[in-house]
């Protein structure tokens, strides 16, 4: 797709739950596994807490990709937060796709506190995928609408 993006460093925000993926990412650290610096982790108590608007805001603010990750099904520290989240994402994803928003830029995953290596892999593959997709200019253009000379529809 974007061949001229060898130099392009994607901005990626990771929304993760405190109990599984955040701890998993800690394990990645304690295991000294390396991954790309592009991803910055925002810590939530649970995937159930992650408001879909925050994902949209991330893109509006110039994120090129987003990772959402939490406990595997049945392992939620709060029993069912991740099940609620999963429903939310199924719904949200369909809607975004119908509106033409590039859902390939949102990577959902289950990473447990024991899967430090998986976290590193998720990050690296996501960074690679987003690099392949290139910057999300399509979205950022409309975000910068007001800077354009004409306002009215």
């Amino acid at each position: 797709m974007n061949n001229n993006n060898s130099e392009f460093e994607p901005k990626i925000v990771a929304f993760v739950c405190n109990w599984c993926t955040y701890a998993g990412a800690d394990l990645t650290g304690t295991s000294r596994l390396k991954y790309a610096t592009n991803v910055k982790i925002v810590r939530f108590p649970c995937t159930g807490r992650i408001d879909f608007m925050l994902l949209l805001k991330a893109f509006a603010q110039g994120a090129d990709g987003v990772i959402v990750s939490g406990c595997h099904p049945n392992d939620c520290h709060y029993t069912s937060g991740n099940f609620h989240a999963r429903r939310r994402w199924i719904t949200f994803r369909g809607l975004l796709d119908f509106m033409g928003i590039d859902i390939r830029r949102i990577q959902y995953s289950w990473v447990s506190a024991a899967e430090g290596a998986k976290w590193a892999d998720i990050v690296n593959t996501t960074v690679a995928n987003i690099r392949e997709l290139g910057p999300y200019t399509e979205y950022q253009k409309v975000a910068e609408y007001l800077d354009k000379e004409e306002y009215n529809g």
Binding site: V13, T30, K40, R43, P45, Q61, H84, A114
Partner: protein
């Protein structure tokens, strides 16, 4: 305008090796609202904490960000430090510069920039933090211990001896667990039952311990200090109040050929049975699956023989409810059984045994009264082969981990064999000998040097039968991969230790996490080995990973101390990171419109209805209200509420929003 203090930790070299800590501190000073910023070698050290405290007082900081290790490590440390300097502890946040940055990235510009971004993100968050007061919840000073093996026994006794009530539940008819099946124990070769039985009896007699055998956890609700456990007492069909344990019943029981679990299938038991002579309680239960009466509706011989009329045919499972404040999980492990080793002919050849079966053969209380005899023909094996790592350290078998105890018990088995069969010849096939532990290495050497056990380093390819002999084909990797073939009379497999059956379901019942092999996960591999991620639930013994008796006992005592510590206070101070439904001025009172969809979303039924009444007592509107005792702070309701009327303290909409924004504003 906020006055935030930022403290960047080098963590010795751990962070500063890849992150330019000094520059991060300099740069962050320029950020709006940052009053003070400094970097230091060890923030968690005393001088480091003093640095923070002094800065808080000197610069009148109203927020603190510590850029160091994971908050899961030191958040309490730094929050405490802030509190000591008079700053509300919840105005302190941590940026994870070590686990999430310095350790996972190479040294370089990008790494330092990321570190800066992470700190800035938390600065933006802490600007919006509100001082919070901890929530105090009462504690039920009664513990539940699940599993009556040595771990459960030890934990129960230790807790009970601190003067607190303990409920011990065991799924089998007797406590004792695997340890009661063992003959001698390494490295001292003292008799397992001799040291265990007194403890079992002590449990039965301890005034602070309520023992429920033949019982399982049905469901668990609530939270630390306030659990409600429903316990299923499986029908024993024998009234233990009436039963004197005389044993008349099982002597007369016609069903005599049921493989005995206690003897690992090598011996038989009856349908109404006591698993082993030293059982606690030493009173029988009826195994309804094999009992003639339950199968065919007639027999009742035991009833006829029972002098006290203790048999209860129509007894049903009973569910009792217990309020407990803490739980110790000691459900133990299991060993891989038949069909797992077709290549070793286990299950096919009678004389291929598991380690546990060999324990029974060697045990004085076992089917052969301690004589090593072949299950097939009862003869004494003259040549015996022990295969270590049967399943363990074998990714192909799905068990990449080391079962830890096999090396030692294999050495023990070989030794016991040599002591019992003086002219016998024993060979051990091993990959490595792992004898870490006090007197362990010496123990193995004794087996090799004094008892002349023949240790062959190599794997066994297969075991097959050839005119009455078991042919063990393997390679000796020390002798340059030379083929070895041994004609054995008996083969003993040091089978892998695996998680107990039902471990996964139990973990899900209790909402504790587990690893890919269904061993329960500790809260921290080093610093919280007996805690789980669910407050108030602790682990001990082989349910966490295979381990030997000394380790298990140590861990059990550790868990007991954690429980005792929890019980040493009358109330538990909980972090106030819970959801709250907003309230505002009349005529609105709250932006909540009372659709109560959040009730269906809450995993803890923590959302209640509150009627807001006017002066005249008339209900103006009904809105949601969160029960602070039940709310665990997952925040599912927060993301779900359409009007944003619920927010969660510590992870509020404003805070999370600001974090995301700050990451991308450049």
């Amino acid at each position: 305008m906020s006055k935030i203090g930022v403290f960047i930790c080098h963590c010795g070299e751990n962070i500063s090796a890849t992150v330019d800590c000094e520059r991060v501190a300099q740069e962050i000073r320029k950020v709006e609202g940052v009053e003070y910023a400094i970097d230091y070698k060890y923030m968690c050290s005393d001088p480091g904490q003093t640095l923070i405290k002094d800065a808080i007082r000197e610069h009148h900081l109203d927020g603190v960000v510590v850029g160091s290790c994971s908050p899961r490590m030191h958040e309490p440390t730094f929050r405490k430090a802030c509190a000591e300097a008079g700053l509300n502890p919840f105005l302190c946040e941590m940026a994870n510069l070590r686990e999430h940055c310095s350790w996972v990235h190479e040294k370089g510009e990008a790494t330092t920039e990321k570190a800066f971004d992470l700190v800035k993100m938390l600065v933006e968050k802490v600007k919006r933090n509100k001082p919070l007061d901890s929530i105090k919840v009462p504690i039920t000073k009664k513990a539940l211990v699940i599993g009556g093996g040595i771990a459960g026994i030890q934990a129960s006794l230790d807790i009970a001896n601190t003067g607190h009530q303990v409920i011990l539940i065991e799924k089998d008819p007797s406590i004792g667990g695997h340890m009661s099946q063992l003959s001698e124990t390494f490295p001292t070769l003292d008799c397992s039952q001799c040291i265990l039985t007194p403890r079992m009896v002590e449990v039965a007699q301890h005034p602070n311990i309520t023992l429920y055998t033949y019982a399982e956890l049905d469901s668990l609700e609530g939270f630390i200090g306030n659990f409600t456990a429903k316990i299923r007492l499986k029908a024993k069909s024998v009234d233990h109040k009436k039963c004197t344990g005389c044993g008349a019943c099982f002597q007369k029981c016609p069903q005599k050929r049921i493989p005995s679990e206690f003897n690992a299938g090598l011996g038989n038991r009856t349908a109404i049975y006591v698993p082993f002579p030293q059982a606690v309680p030493n009173k029988p239960v009826i195994d309804r699956e094999h009992c003639n009466y339950y199968k065919r509706g007639k027999c009742k011989i035991c009833e006829a023989t029972c002098p006290t009329g203790a048999i209860e045919w129509d007894k049903e499972d009973e569910i009792i409810t217990e309020q407990v404040g803490a739980i110790v999980v000691t459900t133990g492990f299991n060993v891989k059984g038949a069909d797992f080793f077709p290549e070793y002919g286990y299950g096919k050849y009678k004389d291929v045994l598991t380690g546990l079966q060999f324990e029974r053969l060697a045990s004085a209380s076992g089917p052969t009264l301690g004589e090593i005899r072949r299950p097939s023909d009862g003869t004494i094996p003259k040549k015996i082969v022990f295969i270590a790592c049967a399943g363990s350290r074998d990714p192909a078998k799905g068990i990449p981990y080391c079962s830890k105890i096999c090396c030692m018990y294999t050495a023990k088995h070989a030794m016991l064999y040599q002591h019992k069969v003086h002219d016998g010849e024993s060979t051990v096939f091993y990959m490595d000998i792992r004898a870490g532990g006090k007197n362990y290495e010496e123990f193995v050497r004794r087996a090799i040097e004094e008892d002349h056990v023949n240790y062959v380093r190599g794997r066994v390819a297969r075991v097959y039968e050839k005119d009455g002999k078991l042919i063990v084909k393997g390679v000796d990797t020390l002798l340059s991969g030379q083929q070895v073939e041994i004609e054995a009379d008996m083969v003993v497999l040091a089978t892998a230790g695996v998680s107990n059956c039902g471990a996964e379901q139990l973990a899900q019942k209790m909402h504790i996490s587990y690893d890919p092999y269904h061993f329960f996960a500790e809260a921290h591999p080093k610093l919280k080995p007996v805690e789980t991620n669910t407050a108030g639930i602790f682990l001990a013994g082989a349910c966490q990973a295979p381990k030997d008796i000394p380790e298990t006992v140590g861990m059990a005592s550790g868990a007991a101390v954690k429980v005792a510590g929890l019980f040493s206070n009358n109330e538990l101070v909980r972090e106030p990171l819970i959801a709250v439904v907003n309230r505002c001025a009349p005529p609105q009172f709250s932006t909540c419109v009372g659709c109560f969809m959040c009730q269906t979303a809450c995993p803890y039924n923590a959302i209640e209805r509150e009627e807001i009444k006017g002066r005249d007592g008339k209900v103006i509107k009904t809105v949601a209200k969160v029960n602070p005792g039940l709310c665990q702070g997952c925040g599912t309701c927060v993301a779900f509420c359409r009007s944003k009327s619920i927010d969660i303290q510590g992870y509020s909409n404003e805070q999370m929003f600001a974090e995301v924004m700050s990451l991308l504003n450049h």
